[in-house]
C-alpha cells in the first residue's frame, strides 16, 4: 500500500467518523430533545397513513378530533417543556456551584446558590402555591 | 374470652412481644450468618427488638391497617362506632377514629403512666428519708429517678394530648380532627413507647436522668438505649399530634369563627403544637445519635479520637453538642407541657368569675409569643456546661425576657378575677391553686436564669423545686381542673364535690410543703439525682417533710381516681350545662353524640362575654337553613 493510499484512507476514515459521529450525535440529540422537550414520544420515522373520511358529517367530526388532539399535544408539550427548563436551570446552577468552588467561593456564597436552587424546586416542582390555594388545582 | 383476644390492645401487646422476639432473632441470626461470636449481643438485639416490637404493636393493634389497604389500592371508608359485632366499651381498647374516643384513650393511658411514675417517686422518696443507703442500690436509685423523670414527661404529654384531642374539635365546631387515622396512630404509638420505657428499668436500668447527657449515656447500662428509643417514639407521637392539630385549627373552623373568636384554649393548643411539630425533631435526632454512637461507634459526642480518625486528621466529637440539640427541644418542651394548662386556666376563669376574659388578644398572642421566644433560650440550661462564654449573656437576657409574655397571662388572670362574682366549685379551686403554684415557679426561675446565681443553684434541689412548681402549676393543677370541669360533659354524670374539694386541699397543701422543702434543701446545698446525703448538710428533716408531702399528694390523687371511677359508673346524671358556659360543647347533650354537632356552628358574638345580658357566642344553624 502506498503512502498516498493510506493518506486517502485515513482522510476518508476521519471524514466518516466526524461526519458520521456528528450526524449520529445530532440524531441522538434530536431524539433526546424530542423526548425531553416534545410530547414525550419518540418521533415516528415513517409517517402513519391517515384515512380521511369523505362523508361530510364525518369530516367535521374528524376535523374536530384532530384539533382537540393537536391542542392536547400542544398543552402537553408546553407542560413538559417547563419541567425541562427547570431541570436545565438547576443543572446549570449545580455546575456553577461546582466550578465556583474550584475558583474559590465562600461558604456563604455556596449557601446562597443552594437557597436559589431550593427556591426553584419548592416553587416549580413542589408547587408550594397550592397549599395556599383554597383547595382547587388539580 | 373471644372478645378479649379481639381487643386491639391485646393484639398490639402480642404484636409487640412477637416483634421484639423477631428483632432479637434477626440480630442473632445475622451474627450467626456472618460468623460473629458471641452470637447473643444484648444491645443490638434489644434495640432492633425494641424497634420491631413497636412496629409489631402498631400492626397488631391495627393502626397501620388502613394505610396498608391504601397502599394495596383498597377502599378505606371511615368507620364510626364500636368494632363490628363487639360491645360498645371495646372501642376504647381498639383503634378508633373518633377524636372523643382518642381523647379519652390519651387521658386514661396518661393517668396510668402517671401512676407508674408516681409509684417510682414514692419508692425513691423513701430512700431519702435518712442518710445512707437503706433499701436500694445506688444504681437502682438512679434508674428510678431517671425513669420517674421521663415517665412523668410521657404522662404529661399524654394528658396534653388528651385535653387537646377531646376539646379542640368540639370548641371549633369541627366534626373531628383533620386526620383521624393519624390521630389514632399518634395515640397508639405511645403505648409501645411507654412499655419500652418501663422495660428499660428491668433490663439493667440507666443512670443518666431524663436528660441523657453523654458521655455518661454512652456508657450506661442496657436500659439506656431502650430509654432513647422510647423517648424517640414518644416524639413521633408529638410530631404527628401537633401537625394534626394545626391543620384542624387552620382549615376546619366554621367560616364565621375568625382567629380572635376562637376559645382561648385553642390558641394555647396551637402554641403547643407549633413547638411539638418543630422542636421534637431535634431531640429525636439527639437520641438517634446516641443510639448509633453506642452501637456503631459514630463519635458525635466523644472527644477522643481513634488511630484511623487521627490518620484522617478528623476533628473530635463534642458532648456539649448533645446538650444544644437536647435543650433546643427540651426547653420548648416545657412550654408544650404548660401552655395547654395555662389555656385551661384562661378558659375556666371567666366562667367562674362570670366576667369577660381580660385582654383576650393579649393572652392569645402571648401563647404564640411564648412559643417563638421559647426557641431562643435553650442554653440557660447550660451555663455550667463549658459552652462558649459569649453565649451566656444573650441566653440569660433572652430567658429573662420570656417572663414578659408569661406575666401578661398573669395580669390578665388577675384582671379577670378582679370584681368578678366568684364561685368556688372544685375546678375553680384547682385553677386558683394552679395560679398560686405557677407563680412560685415563675419566681424560682429567674434566679436560675441569672448566671451568677445559677452557678450555685444548678444541679441542686432548687432546680427540682423550680420545675415541679412549673409542672404542677402549669400542668397538674389545670389538668385536674379540666378533669373535674369536663367530667359531666364526658360521662354525663356528676362527680362528688366533697371528694373533689378534699383532693384539692390535700394536693395544694402537700404540694406547697413539698416544693418549699425542695427549694430549701437546694439552698442548703442538696444536689439533685444523688441517692445519699451528708447528715452534716442538715437536710434530713427537710427530706422527711418532702417525702411525707409527696405521699399526701399521691393519696389525694388516688381519691380523685376513686371519685372519677365511682361517679362515672353510678352518680347522678348531670344537667346539660352545669357551669353555664358559653362554649359550644356545652350547648349539646352530654355525653356527646357520635357526630357532635347536628348542624354547623355559627359564631355570632365574642366567646367570653360572661355577664353581658343577651349576648350569645355561638348558634347552631338549623339544617337546610342557608348554605
Amino acid at each position: 500500500m502506498t503512502t498516498s493510499t493510506m493518506y486517502l484512507l485515513a482522510t476518508a476514515a476521519v471524514l466518516v467518523l466526524t461526519v458520521g459521529g456528528g450526524v449520529g450525535l445530532a440524531v441522538l440529540f434530536h431524539l433526546g430533545s424530542q423526548l425531553v422537550l416534545g410530547d414525550g414520544r419518540l418521533p415516528r420515522l415513517v409517517p402513519q397513513r391517515v384515512i380521511v373520511p369523505t362523508e361530510p358529517m364525518a369530516v367535521l367530526r374528524w376535523r374536530r378530533e384532530q384539533d382537540e388532539e393537536r391542542m392536547a399535544v400542544a398543552r402537553r408539550v408546553a407542560a413538559y417543556r417547563s419541567g425541562a427548563t427547570v431541570l436545565i436551570v438547576l443543572a446549570a446552577l449545580t455546575g456553577f456551584e461546582y466550578v465556583m468552588n474550584l475558583v474559590g467561593i465562600s461558604v456563604f456564597g455556596l449557601f446562597v446558590i443552594a437557597l436559589v436552587k431550593a427556591a426553584i424546586i419548592v416553587h416549580y416542582f413542589m408547587h408550594v402555591a397550592t397549599v395556599f390555594a383554597a383547595g382547587d388545582g388539580h | 374470652m373471644r372478645t378479649f383476644f379481639k381487643l386491639g390492645f391485646v393484639r398490639g401487646l402480642l404484636g409487640q412481644v412477637l416483634g421484639t422476639l423477631l428483632g432479637m432473632g434477626l440480630v442473632t441470626g445475622m451474627r450467626a450468618a456472618f460468623g460473629y461470636s458471641p452470637l447473643w449481643l444484648a444491645e443490638p438485639a434489644w434495640v432492633i427488638g425494641g424497634l420491631l416490637g413497636t412496629v409489631g404493636f402498631m400492626v397488631g393493634v391495627g393502626a397501620l391497617t388502613d394505610w396498608a389497604k391504601w397502599a394495596g389500592g383498597l377502599a378505606t371508608p371511615m368507620h364510626h362506632g364500636a368494632p363490628a359485632g363487639q360491645p360498645e366499651w371495646t372501642r376504647y381498647f381498639a383503634v378508633d377514629l373518633s377524636h372523643k374516643v382518642i381523647g379519652v384513650q390519651y387521658t386514661v393511658w396518661g393517668i396510668f403512666v402517671l401512676l407508674v411514675g408516681g409509684l417510682l417517686a414514692g419508692l425513691f422518696r423513701v430512700e431519702l428519708l435518712q442518710p445512707g443507703m437503706q433499701y436500694f442500690t445506688t444504681d437502682r436509685y438512679n434508674t428510678m429517678i431517671s425513669a420517674h423523670g421521663i415517665i412523668m414527661i410521657a404522662a404529661i404529654l399524654l394528658g396534653v394530648g388528651g385535653m387537646i384531642n377531646y376539646l379542640v374539635p368540639l370548641m371549633i365546631g369541627a366534626s373531628d380532627m383533620a386526620f383521624p387515622r393519624l390521630n389514632a396512630f399518634g395515640f397508639w404509638i405511645n403505648v409501645p413507647a411507654s412499655l419500652l420505657l418501663i422495660t428499660a428499668m428491668f433490663v439493667g436500668g440507666w443512670d443518666t436522668g431524663w436528660t441523657a447527657y453523654p458521655p455518661n449515656s454512652l456508657r450506661t447500662a442496657l436500659g439506656g438505649p431502650l430509654f432513647f428509643l422510647g423517648f424517640y417514639t414518644i416524639g413521633i407521637s408529638s410530631i404527628v399530634g401537633g401537625l394534626n392539630l394545626l391543620v384542624t385549627v387552620f382549615t376546619m373552623r366554621p367560616p364565621s369563627m375568625n382567629l380572635f373568636r376562637m376559645p382561648i384554649f385553642v390558641w394555647a393548643a396551637v402554641g403547643t403544637s407549633i413547638l411539638q411539630l418543630l422542636a421534637t425533631q431535634l431531640v429525636g435526632l439527639a437520641m438517634l445519635m446516641l443510639i448509633v454512637e453506642r452501637s456503631l461507634g459514630m463519635g458525635f459526642f466523644t472527644p477522643v479520637l481513634n488511630e484511623a480518625a487521627k490518620a484522617l486528621n478528623s476533628p473530635p466529637g463534642d458532648p456539649v453538642l448533645f446538650q444544644h440539640l437536647f435543650w433546643f427541644y427540651s426547653h420548648p418542651a416545657v412550654y408544650v407541657f404548660v401552655l395547654p394548662g395555662l389555656g385551661i386556666i384562661s378558659e375556666l376563669l371567666p366562667v367562674f368569675a362570670r366576667k369577660p376574659l381580660f385582654g383576650y388578644k393579649w393572652i392569645a398572642l402571648s401563647s404564640i409569643g411564648i412559643a417563638f421566644l421559647g426557641f431562643l433560650v435553650w442554653a440557660h440550661h447550660m451555663f455550667t456546661s463549658g459552652m462558649s462564654n459569649y453565649l451566656r449573656l444573650p441566653f440569660m437576657y433572652a430567658t429573662l425576657i420570656i417572663a414578659v409574655p408569661t406575666g401578661v397571662k398573669f395580669f390578665s388572670w388577675l384582671g379577670t378575677l378582679w370584681g368578678g362574682k366568684l364561685t368556688y366549685p372544685t375546678p375553680m379551686l384547682f385553677v386558683l391553686g394552679a395560679i398560686s403554684v405557677f407563680l412560685l415557679g415563675g419566681l424560682t426561675g429567674p434566679p436560675a436564669a441569672t448566671i451568677t446565681t445559677d452557678l450555685y443553684l444548678h444541679d441542686t434541689y432548687w432546680v427540682v423545686g423550680h420545675f415541679h412548681q412549673t409542672f404542677f402549676g402549669g400542668f397538674m393543677f389545670p389538668f385536674f381542673a379540666a378533669m373535674y370541669y369536663w367530667f359531666p360533659k364526658v360521662t354525663g354524670r356528676k362527680y362528688n364535690e366533697a371528694l373533689g374539694k378534699l383532693h384539692f386541699w390535700l394536693m395544694v397543701a402537700g404540694f406547697w410543703v413539698m416544693s418549699l422543702g425542695q427549694i430549701w434543701a437546694g439552698l442548703r446545698g442538696m444536689r439533685r439525682r444523688i441517692a445519699d446525703y451528708d447528715p452534716a448538710l442538715g437536710v434530713q428533716n427537710i427530706q422527711i417533710g418532702i417525702t411525707v408531702a409527696a405521699f399526701v399528694i399521691a393519696f389525694s390523687i388516688l381519691i380523685a381516681l376513686y371519685n372519677f371511677i365511682v361517679s362515672a359508673r353510678s352518680a347522678e346524671v348531670a344537667e346539660r350545662n352545669p357551669w353555664r358556659s358559653r362554649s359550644p360543647e356545652w350547648q349539646i347533650p352530654s355525653p356527646i353524640p357520635e357526630h357532635s354537632y347536628a348542624a354547623p356552628l355559627a359564631v355570632v358574638g365574642e366567646p367570653y362575654d360572661y355577664g353581658l345580658p343577651g349576648s350569645v357566642y355561638v348558634r347552631m344553624e338549623l339544617a337546610g337553613a342557608g348554605d
Binding site: 413538559y80 468552588n101 455556596l110 | 478528623s314
Partner: protein
Amino acid sequence: MSGSTAVHGEYRAALRNNRLGLWLFFLSESFLFIGILVTRFYLWGNTRPELNQLNGLLVTIVLLLSSFTMNRAETALVQNDRKTFLNSLLVTVVLGLLFLAGVIVFEWGGHIRPSDGAYGAVLFGMTGMHALHVVSGIVFILIVWNNGRRGLYSSEQHWGVEACAIWWHYVDLVWVFFYPALYLMGQAIR
C-alpha cells in the same frame, strides 16, 4: 348529581388538609435536617474530609434527573398521558436506585469508616439519614406506580401521586444542601 358534587367538595376539603399537613411535615423534617447540618458545622467547622468529587457530582446529577422525571410523571398524569406517567415513575425509581448505589458503593466504600471521629460520624450520619429518606421515597413511588397501573388515579383526583412527587422533590431538596455541605464547603483536609 348533587351527590357527586358533594363527593367532589369533600375531596377538595380533604385535599386542602392533606397538602397543608404534608407541608407542615416538611417543615418539621426541615428541623431534623437543619439539626444535622448544624452538627456538621459544629463538629467539622470550616473543614471537610477528602471525598471523591466526581462521585459527588454524579450522584447529585442523578438525583436531580430523578426529580425531573418525577415532575414529568406528575405532569403526564395531569395531561392524561398514562404511558409517560407510568414510565417516568419507573425511570425515577431506577435513578433513585442509582443514587443509592452511588452513596453506598462509592461514598460508604471509601477510606472513611463511621467510627472515624467526627468525619466518619457526620459523613455517615448525613448520607445515612438522607438515604433512609430516599428508600422511603422509592417505596412510595413503587406503591403509587402499582396503584397507577391499576388506574386508581385520574387527571383530576390523584393526591397519592402528588404527595409522592413532592415527597421525592423534598428528598432532592435536602440533597441540594447536603451536597455542598459535604463536598464543597470548607477546606478539604487530607
